[in-house]
Amino acid sequence: MEQQDADHSLFDLSIDETAKEHLKRICSWTMIIVATAVLGYVVAIIKALMPKARVIQSEGFGVSVSAGQTVASVIFSIIIGLLINYFLYQFTKLAKKGVDGMSQTDLNAGFYNLKIYFVIISVLVIIILAFFLLFLVAVSADASAR
């Protein structure tokens, strides 16, 4: 009886036709996101290999404007981006396989990869915000020292 209740409580939520449709559309768009990201990395490499800076002359004063990134920073960004997009791709692949093939294991693995995707982005956001906060503290300390 208890086992029956447990089974019932587990199966209250299902991936019905509406949920399947939403999941399929999510998978289509995440695949587009991954594809554009990978193509974007190729474009970023091309741009990084092109001339990096141009000088804009302004009323006799040369104002240098950096119009590109260094190759090293581009490669670093691409590595981070590939890591993030790998998990999004895994989610897309497994969730689609799970929904199409009615495989609970694949669907669960897909959701696990989506979780990792959001965890990595969140950790990166925390790191970036920490660096930004440190930068603000350093700037304000420098200003008060003057």
């Binding site: 209250d12 939520l13 991936i15 939403h22 559309r25 768009w29 554009t36 104002v63 609970q104 979780k115």
Partner: protein
Amino acid sequence: MEENQSFLELQVDQTAAKNLSDVARWARFLSITGFVCMSLMVIFFVSMQSRLAAAMSQIVPGFSDLNGIGVLLAIIIIAAAVGCLLLYFLFRGSTLIKRGIETKNQEVFNTGLASLKAYFTMYGILAIIVFITNLVSIF
């Protein structure tokens, strides 16, 4: 027969529920952080208007004559509004998915998935726009 059919359907079992709850928790954190950052960015640009105008007029001659700061501010506000809409879908999706799992409400769960779909749709469209802009900037 119907009972047998339901056992053959995909379910939100314990593993899926745990993973989706974690997805919702982190997505909610991201959206709230995003809202705060967007607001701070707009406040920063509004409060630093005059300094920005001076800095920009050094780079772009006649920037202040062209009422450039107003245009720049409008672009920033539009970008922030688009970003906030994207984050709203993420926030709504995460909240409803979590609530749907907790209350075992199929309708709420599906609405959450629909919001997550809207988030990824908008994200995809923006990704395509950014990619095309980047591609055009090469030539």
